[in-house]
Symmetry: C2
Subunit: 190 residues, 2 copies
DNA sequence: GGGAGACTACAACAGATGTTGTGGTTGCGC
DNA sequence: GCGCAACCACAACATCTGTTGTAGTCTCCC
């Protein structure tokens, strides 16, 4: 049993890279070894089976996409307004677009979870927790909109990201403009 | 060279089934043979390489998800209104949710196209054509909203479908309600 | 009914992949 | 210095996969 956590994280990161670059099909122990520049067999030592490897990637993606302390602090400070909400949203989208690799890997994992119950449990719980945190922040900040409205934003942002990271149907409009239009439409007035 | 079109379609359908059920990783010639209940090697005869197989699936998905004649006729008949627009949208979402298999396969292919330029070209063109048809219908029907607004609907609907087909974050709200909320928010007033 | 051409079943092979085992090395407590 | 346990590199194996080739079968037109 391997326990070196730093190396484990490095391997998981390499795995996410492979997943984004080559897709679920290319995600093999050996490919991760190569991406991480470690001797062949190392990934097999840390993640004994392919299933374990995927589970490791899910854990790691949770770490990578968790809001940082500074983000949370910034959120807590300012006073609520639709403009602020739009600011946050633009930031999130910008970050996820920049972390293209992780975001694409997350889409892969979400699809994978549609056919692996044990993955669905872990990933679903993580997603729902994030969603509920968003709702809590929103209501806590005195912004309009409850769970339903926040869910709408999740749907739209997910679809937007998928579009922008693959084949944009409307490349003429900037991503920020799209986000603003979404906020204008979906955030309840007052 | 094989030319039996009916069998070719049957194989492509089986391929989409495999793609949805097992993911990109499980999509192999032999798996398609099995799903289609044909002797091993048949899929290899029709789709000489894995790439050709994927291209075949894209073609087939275009056929499967094209709006039917009757749909188009129904669209052409009625007089435009936001309610009608919502009706259409609910129908589309219902249909894509029911054809879970094809929709999931399409998501797989979209992700795959993010790393296969030749796939991106075909799939991207198909997507953009569908998008432009939606825009044309919308403006032709005298409904408010141009390309930008229709794009918002595409994003939101895609995200909604992905959510509903994998791990719904807000199972309490019915899909129809979500669509209605989207129309209420995103369709320009008058 | 016979022959040409298309279609199909099946075999074969090289390379990739998941998984397990086996030694060797390293670092740490005593 | 010594032993122990954790960690690591590497080899090996059976299985799966993509791809190609070949021979058999069917169909349809003359």
């Amino acid at each position: 049993m391997a326990k070196n956590e730093a190396r484990r994280r490095a391997l998981a990161d390499a795995g996410l890279e492979v997943l984004a670059r080559e897709g679920s099909r290319g995600l093999t122990h050996r490919a991760v070894d190569e991406a991480a520049s470690v001797p062949a067999g190392t990934t097999s030592n840390y993640f004994r089976s392919r299933e374990a490897l995927i589970a490791g990637l899910v854990d790691r993606i949770g770490e990578r996409l968790a809001p940082s302390e500074t983000d949370l602090a910034a959120r807590a400070g300012a006073e609520p307004s639709p403009e602020l909400f739009a600011d946050y949203l633009r930031d999130i989208v910008r970050r996820l677009t920049a972390e293209r690799e992780v975001t694409l890997a997350l889409f892969e994992l979400r699809l994978e979870s549609s056919r692996r119950p044990e993955l669905a449990a872990v990933l679903g719980a993580w997603q729902r927790a994030g969603f509920e945190a968003d709702v809590a922040f929103n209501t806590g900040a005195g912004l309009p909109g409850g769970a339903r409205e926040i869910a709408l934003f999740h749907y739209a942002i997910d679809g937007l990201l998928l579009d922008r990271l693959t084949n944009p149907i409307d490349p003429g409009t900037s991503t920020d403009e799209v986000v603003d239009a979404l906020v204008a439409g979906l955030l309840p007035r007052d």
